[in-house]
Symmetry: C2
Amino acid sequence: MQNCIIASTSTIHGSGPLEYLFDALIELYKDSDQILFIPYARPGGISHDEYTIGVNNIFKKINKRILGVHMFPDIAEAFENTQGIFTGGGNTFLLVDQLYRNNVLEPLKRAIDSGIPYLGTSAGSNICGLTMQTTNDMPIVHPPSIKTLGIMPFNINAHYLDPNPKSTHKGETRETRIKEFHNLNPQPVVGLREGSWLRILDNNIILEGDLSARVFEQNKTPYEITSKSSLSALN
Amino acid sequence: MQNCIIASTSTIHGSGPLEYLFDALIELYKDSDQILFIPYARPGGISHDEYTIGVNNIFKKINKRILGVHMFPDIAEAFENTQGIFTGGGNTFLLVDQLYRNNVLEPLKRAIDSGIPYLGTSAGSNICGLTMQTTNDMPIVHPPSIKTLGIMPFNINAHYLDPNPKSTHKGETRETRIKEFHNLNPQPVVGLREGSWLRILDNNIILEGDLSARVFEQNKTPYEITSKSSLSALN
């Protein structure tokens, strides 16, 4: 019943914000004129209002209006008649913290499960996994829990980066970090490169975009899946 | 009264583990034959025993013996007669979680404040700041608190990386992440590049190594400090 686009990034190199997704968004939001925006992740620390205004200016290009969830005195009301939802990127810890503190997690999950079209980018995609534990972000706040929406039966690593064989840097690679995660946690992780997204529709999860994705399962060698592959059986 | 080396990394490119620090460690641990090692950060997911054995093999080269804190049935006993302490790198969330759950944070702080020589590398350095919030690591576990030892009146960003002007990647730079941190938190952050360390002795904090460090203060433009600068006034 879910109808989602779970994107690695809002913006790819050499293109405006969300531009690479416009065709997919016109299809996703074909019956939605007004979209509920969740600005809690505050990229670069911008305010909820600034973020919402910026996103509205982008969505104008595909003839959609944006309303920020923070503009509603009552959260239930925000979700009551919404035709579509978008959670933008920024800091995943801050996003999850605010989802808990403002009691948005439950109505958001109910809305997505009822089939309301949902777009997540970056942090807004991380929250669709089982937990936010494979975020790349800094813990700038301490959320009450790391459990997230569980729209998919696995976790996401957004902005996935391959190890650079020429690097002289000794900080952990993304692959090492995910290996450390799997030492303590069982759920699979899908490393989504910038330009990739997951399309969830009619109980299918399909990898979209031009690139392959990297899948990490506990106690297995990581492997690549090509665009248009199904991830429905991954759990 | 503190006597610490707070290093960005255990290993620099082209050199063995801790090798670049051997001269400094011979001085730091001049009166310590036996060193208490805290292996909780488990780099790459290795066990406490494996990590301790590996570190012992390195410390043999400077004629020191290593005992892992996990080898003691009683934590108080581990700290009772210790002549020196080393906390190694790995995952900062896991390290902090284990420090809390095993009640090591308080005896560790008392030992450092009493002047017992302390070495931290990477995650083991992050815990010397006010909070662990400027770690680069993944939240593979959810520690009960993000408050850390507060040996220095600021936070560390270990393995500090400058933004790459040629990058096409859209994930946040380290500088953007620290800016997002400062949007919500007041404490300064010292970005320590690999090869740099802080020497804390007689209430002074001095930047050591060949490189400059980058200092981030809330509502200020970030700035560089050169090697041998004092950070004692930063708070």
